[in-house]
Symmetry: C2
Subunit: 141 residues, 2 copies
Amino acid sequence: MSVTELGIVQGVELPTRELLETLTNKWTLPVLCALHETSPMRHGELRRQLDGVSQKMLTATLRTLERDGIIERTVYPEVPPKVEYRLSGLGTSLAAIFSLLQLWAADHASDVQAHRSDSDAVGAPQEKLSAGHRHRGALTA
Amino acid sequence: MSVTELGIVQGVELPTRELLETLTNKWTLPVLCALHETSPMRHGELRRQLDGVSQKMLTATLRTLERDGIIERTVYPEVPPKVEYRLSGLGTSLAAIFSLLQLWAADHASDVQAHRSDSDAVGAPQEKLSAGHRHRGALTA
DNA sequence: CAGTATCCCCTGAGATACTG
DNA sequence: CAGTATCTCAGGGGATACTG
């Protein structure tokens, strides 16, 4: 019999591209880099350190990472509640790469910015693509 | 006088986080990895190799990367048009990191999938977060 | 403290058609 | 071939209020 007969495995396979996409969520990299530096960390610590996350997105990110086996979540049955997050083995190898990326970005942000200024000055008005369209209420109001 | 008086420089600084976010667009990694393997590549080559990109998104991605000095764009004034893209020095260092990421994903996709199945089977119905809400016409109809 | 529940806004990204 | 112009929409992501 095939595994699919068990009625559990529906996703025939997980494409690399798809996995990559879940890893490129807005807060995945910041979270992993934070845990790469200090681990374990509590929910609140992460919240503070990340500066800008909403509880919702932080929780969502953490849940997804936990589901994928990238991080581990430990609940301490105390009151008030205490929950710790730490990288798994899998997560550690991933976090190492993300840290490289973050380093690269920090190192080269000024280069990129400089190049942007050049482009702005010399070349095109560069509305990126499909700019000037304006949606319903994009007036920043 | 300050530079801002020139009316050109408004962005005081480019935060690392922001740069990172532009790098985590859906097609940035695939494009850079492709160019990391073979360079230069023509627009059409990239389109075919990436499999799934729309012209619009490919162009947008390439334009952004060019603007940021990650890739270089060469137009050959022929007919029919011929445009080649290649990594810049900056881009090469970035692409190397992205290639690591892609490798990681390819290597560990099965691990992740296995862990997902475990979670599905054992734990929670796991509607991720804010599932079951349903937007305007989210009936997939 | 950690997490859920809602509501709502963009905007990233796809589909399609057209141009030099 | 390479690129632009539009239109459309799903859903990622933010804000706020509430609960064990």
